[in-house]
Amino acid sequence: MEFGLFQKILFDAGFMHLTFGNIVMWAIALTFITLAITKNYEPLLLVPIGFGMFIINLPLTGLMDQGGLLWVPYHYAIDHFDLIPPIIFMGIGAMTDFRPVLANPKTLLLGAGAQFGVYVTFFGALLLGFTMPEAASIGIIGGADGPTTIYLTSKMAPQLLGATAVAAYSYMALVPIIQPPIMKLLTTVEERKIKMKQLRNVSKLEAIGFPLVATLIICLLIPAAAPLVGMMMVGNLFRECGVVERLSGTAQNELINIVTIFLGLCIGATMPAQVFLQPSSLFIFFLGMIAFAFSTAAGIVLAKLMNLFLKDKINPLIGSAGVSAVPMAARVSQVVAREADKRNFILMHAMGPNVAGTIGTVSAAGLFLSILMG
């Protein structure tokens, strides 16, 4: 009897059910947490993702079983009702200053051009045997926008959510490493030295009106993008109108922090070893890199093309900021420009395509939803 009880307790213990895959996943989780802590790589996401990945690979915890602690927020706030990505977009909108786009709206085109990598990767994923909804979810990694990637993947290919989200956030963190070689390869030193005219001042009325105009135009053209665009623009309206500072503060601090905790943990928890340790995960990481590289290159090439027609030349380095990754990509443009000329300041110019890239990625996601799921 006592021996039977001992046997039962032993059999119910997690370590009896450990697999080699679980231990590999612990190592991957530890790598993410270490990179976040030591290298500051997207720590707000990679720490909770790493921990979620770690804890879900402890056998028999039941955290992602129906009704489990992490299943509930995953099921209701990400998978079923897609609440968390739009709420994060509200925070992003409240944190984003769209004045560089208003001052130089031509940079919107760079945000569009940098979506090229999304579509190149869409074809690459199809060639590798992924389905169209999966290919769209993998391609959108090239937009360098984590919440959009999660939103689209949860709607189109939830089985890939962990891999696409981790790839998107990992590459966003690696922007300072991935982009500069491509930027230097595609531009001459003279091009990198181009100084741009100072941006004009944007009035408060323009800044307040922008979220309304942008919502009107984008939602009329791509209704499927409304949850993300609408939330981003209401967050921006909170910021710019100046009379709801509490709402603006909540959107860009407490609210986004709370949902980020659940988002990170739940994304990590979608990666048990038997799901993540598949050839598809490696392909997703490889394709994510391709997407990023093509998006960066397309932004720069488009900026060079625009220079053929513009009187006031633009520095082609700002084209690479068309991948979203706000504000990291814009900072990288500034760093590379200063390497060529220490007196060249293009950061605010690069913020234009950078925030335009966010709008472009959301539009691309909305169009994927309309075309493939509509």
């Binding site: 919107l108 085109l109 569009a112 290919a135 089985q159």
Partner: protein, 78 residues
Amino acid sequence: MEMSESEGANGTGKAVRVSPWHNQNNNKRCGMVDWGKALETFVVGFGGVFVTLIILYVGIVIFSKVVMSVTSMTAKKE
């Protein structure tokens, strides 16, 4: 490509649509891609992003001009 149903592939205990990558028994890979639909997705998708942002560009330019002219008219009256 055809998808198959598999229970709980994402660890959530619910049915999800999975590709052959997640179904080791299915060795059919890229033979059934509808390349016409893929091309249409590229043209409509990438073109659509450009058209959307060009319309937004035009909208912002018009909006900014209206705001600036209203502002200057108000300033003159004052």
